[in-house]
Symmetry: C2
Subunit: 361 residues, 2 copies
């Protein structure tokens, strides 16, 4: 069966969504499902005859908005074929609706971390819906950790084939990677004070519009939650384990991003002290996440790492993920590369889409 009988619904046409639609349009027809629903903020594009829609018509669409999930589930589950929903948002509301889609046989592909790092109840609801669907509906979320890097698929393969994952460790944020590779490079130099580096990174677009959304560590905590759960730990959520925020306590009440940035230089000394403590031990300071599967411990925060270690040697805004397992022994399986960006995130989504099409086809 070729893919024209498989239907595609896409929510979200921001940076990742735009790259994704472009990548999908270049797939060979046997792997390219028929786009029947597309939405962004307050616009939706679809028709009741399930004929293909074109992304270029979204802006001018006057379609009545379907409620998500109820009306969208109803619309998609009446499609004359199997349906894949791609959620390119970072919305918790859309994530909460995955079980409703899956229960109706609609597969889900997404880079959205919220579904897998939210409540353990939602996680359980999603994966029990997948199990009950018995191969008719599935969920793929490679890009929820490390963008297109093969992180989720590798961890799943390790677990599924019976390896024992003992420890997962790495740098899981492109922003944190960039900040620390600039602030405390291995050669002992540095590109300035901490607050200056944060400022430069913000101006260069390496941080979220409000850098506090990176510095609070929650993005990394969400990724660790996902990996820890895949490795078998029943983690309640990203706030159920120690996460070191790099927002100084005194600045937690800063009213705006600007206010925060203006006051940040007052705390440069504190970061400088971490840097020199590390240097005194011939180490460098990095923002590291780790899961100790045996002890059931997850943590995120600053660590002093050996100068010769792969984490210390990272370049630019690269991520690095080490899987220590029984089979791999002392030397971990390591995956490294860009862990953010529209094209590489979309690549993980498109590759997942292909896998679902191949399984449904």
């Amino acid at each position: 069966m070729s893919s024209p009988s498989i239907y595609l619904a896409v929510i979200g046409v921001g940076g990742v969504g735009t790259c994704f639609l472009s990548q999908v349009s270049s797939l060979p027809s046997r792997l390219r499902p028929t786009l029947i629903f597309l939405s962004r903020s307050s616009k939706q594009l679809y028709n009741t005859s399930y004929s293909p829609v074109s992304p270029s018509d979204l802006q001018s669409s006057t379609s009545k908005l379907l409620s998500i999930p109820d009306e969208l589930v109803t619309y998609l589950s009446s499609a004359p074929g199997k349906v894949i929903l791609v959620d390119n948002t970072s919305s918790q509301d859309v994530a909460n609706a995955y079980p409703s889609f899956l229960k109706k046989g609609i597969s889900v592909v997404t880079p959205n971390k919220k579904a897998f790092s939210g409540s353990l109840q939602l996680w359980n609801d999603i994966f029990s819906a997948v199990e009950q669907a018995n191969g008719k509906a599935m969920v793929y979320h490679e890009s929820s950790v490390g963008a297109g890097l093969p992180v989720i698929s590798t961890l799943k393969d390790l677990v599924a084939t019976g390896d024992q994952v003992t420890r997962i460790e790495g740098v899981f944020s492109g922003t944190m990677s960039f900040l620390f590779n600039s602030f405390a490079p291995v050669d002992g130099t540095g590109n300035g004070k901490w607050s200056e580096i944060v400022k430069q990174a913000k101006e260069a677009g390496y941080t979220e519009p409000d850098p506090r959304d990176d510095l609070n560590g929650m993005d990394v905590a969400r990724k660790l939650t996902i990996l820890a759960r895949l490795a078998g730990l029943k983690v309640q959520g990203p706030d159920s384990f120690p996460v070191q925020s790099l927002i100084p306590k005194e600045l937690e009440s800063a009213k705006s991003s600007e206010d925060f940035m203006a006051q940040l230089p007052k705390f440069d000394e504190q970061m400088e002290s971490y840097k020199s403590q590390a240097a005194a031990q011939n180490k460098v300071v990095r923002y590291v996440g780790s899961v100790d599967v045996g002890k059931g411990e997850v943590k995120v925060g600053l660590e002093m790492v050996e100068k010769g270690s792969p984490i210390a040697g990272l370049k630019g805004s690269d991520n690095l993920i080490c899987f220590y397992t029984k089979r791999y022994g002392a030397n971990p399986l390591v995956i490294q590369g860009a862990g953010a960006g529209g094209e590489v995130t979309a690549m993980g989504v498109t590759a997942d889409l292909i896998k679902v099409v191949e399984r449904l086809g």
Copy 2:
């Protein structure tokens, strides 16, 4: 549909095959196909009613030997369900038969490099059979490069989603990695003369029984052939591009492995000279394979690499594979870890088996 209606035939029960059978026996029943054929050298185990066979009965089996491929294809294509053939040998003959199996709707999963690094004709025959099968028979071969490391799947995802792979580079042999990490570590020391290190590696089981099978570079050349073809190059075979053998010309006629090892110390000076040439440039010597996709160039041999580079910093017998692509830009997507060993090779095979079961199920 659950997997008891999917059937499994396994050829080869050596190191990898034994680990594979053990891993498969631990899979949940929905992912575990029914074993109906098992063979090693001059023994085969099967029955005409296609009822399950048990690996422990192989040694005492008195089944009439089926010819491969003809009689085995006939036997398997009459099974009352879909069939997956797992080839855990390194046999060229078995590899040559893949198109015959695929044409009859029998999927193939294998770590055997021979099918994908042999003649371009065989490669084309295999992949045109897969295309004609239109999703009913497929071929997966993750462990043909880097054992269980996600090398093949990552490269396929990059290509399938439309990225442009510009360069592939790395250390593709656990043996070569071990030899050079011992001979010329980054700290400038070393564990002795080249011939002594080869001898120690042989005694520790890090080389093939005859170390010349590693030192001739053909294993690496085969892996590069596979990667280059997946990246789109029409490579004729592993002898169609420059491969530097580390067997000195004068020793090519050595009559035996023992004879070779006895004479190797005469050439220590040559390797020592490479080492000091590299050191003079603040580099180290490594055995590297690379594919330049744009130029259509593949090569394998000694290279002087920067001390700070990931290749120079490898430990033990780890492999390292860098994918440079348009989307990943200046910093490659890197995969690193053990690239040989029974359990990790079998893991790649088992993970592939699961994917095929999921697609057929």
